[in-house]
Symmetry: C2
Subunit: 254 residues, 2 copies
Amino acid sequence: MNEHVRIFEAGGPVMSPDELEAAIRAVGTERYHDKHEFHKLLHSGNLTKGQVAAWALNRYVYQEAIPRKDAAFMSRVHDRELRREWIHRIQDHDGHPPEEEGGLERWLRLTDGLGLDRDYVTSMEGALPATRYACEAYVYFVREQPLVVAAASSLTELFAPSIHRERISGMLEKYDFINEPEMEYGKRRLNQAPRDAEFALQFVKDFAKSRYIQEACINAVRFKCDVLWAQLDALHLAYVVGMIPPGAYRPEAD
Amino acid sequence: MNEHVRIFEAGGPVMSPDELEAAIRAVGTERYHDKHEFHKLLHSGNLTKGQVAAWALNRYVYQEAIPRKDAAFMSRVHDRELRREWIHRIQDHDGHPPEEEGGLERWLRLTDGLGLDRDYVTSMEGALPATRYACEAYVYFVREQPLVVAAASSLTELFAPSIHRERISGMLEKYDFINEPEMEYGKRRLNQAPRDAEFALQFVKDFAKSRYIQEACINAVRFKCDVLWAQLDALHLAYVVGMIPPGAYRPEAD
């Protein structure tokens, strides 16, 4: 794994918490998926409804992995206070009836609006295999890496609000098949992501106290950017280049 | 592993759901830890305060593993409805401030009452290594076994209410150093355990549809009984026979 090679080669003194934060934020500037070609096409209104549906369908796989990733994290936490702090992340996605429907429900409203059948979406049968592998790699990473490194992998949320803002305004403006209710997911994340990111960032700054672990945390953010990037790569090849693999969702001609 | 040998040797037709339930209940009759010698000593008032403290201190390790076990389960569940149903188990133990303090808090009230320092208890430093191994084996089992088998391992809760009832009345009556507030944990479990056990039992009856998986579910209950039994074995050797291993809690002379 490149990540491990990088860590063992890493030298230098222990970073201050602020230096660590700066290094983590620099990863986002360098490789967050808002720089991906598919992202630009999506937000600038240059995709067909079928291509947007393919994105939403595949992105569901990622959304669906998040509460499982957070449960995997909690399964390793011996500190009751930390579990109590973390559990709302699961409920943010799964919902907590009756008052909170949850992010997955909001995401399914988007796929509904795009004309996709719910059972088809939630079965994940039409998703690209590369999407599933990338999302599952995230769950495994969080289950297996040191806890502070696992927490660090969530820090792409530091970069999420701008992408959600851009997506909401861009997609509402550019696509006549997208309306306000379908964009509720992103609107809620505008509040949820910063709160979660702040907590995780402080956790990482408090507990990553050796250079080795600090480098591992920075690499965790790289790893997570890769997970997001790989999903857009797969979408691009399948639905922009047009090489849809066997079994994957095929948009009807728009 | 004996469990696996048993499964591969298992033959016979697929059981009806009721036959499966009967087979699971028979495991409890045969090997639930209410039949253990240490359990009998505990409930009949024949232990010293130090021995009861050793039990409570070690049993904390098990309590602490439960919400992590449930999170491990959830990390593998793709069905949002099932995760929504399962999540209260974590909150039953961790609490959900301000309205629910949680089972761990109630257990710590017991260890408080027995004169144990909370930091010492929650550090688990004084717990027997065999206790820790047994509890962690449970978390790993749930993380790794097929989901229906993992759920089946929780079914010792079918047998729990009678042990809680017996413990509450026996310990309150027999030990002058145990009072009502310390027994709150067991009282709450009298309501929680049957509800959870019913749900898990129905889940197992609904989804264990091949003989192979049915045998694996029955063996999961055996496995779980072993996990509980092994904890009492370790307590018995250390605190009844008197062979306390290095580093483990040593009661002051009562």
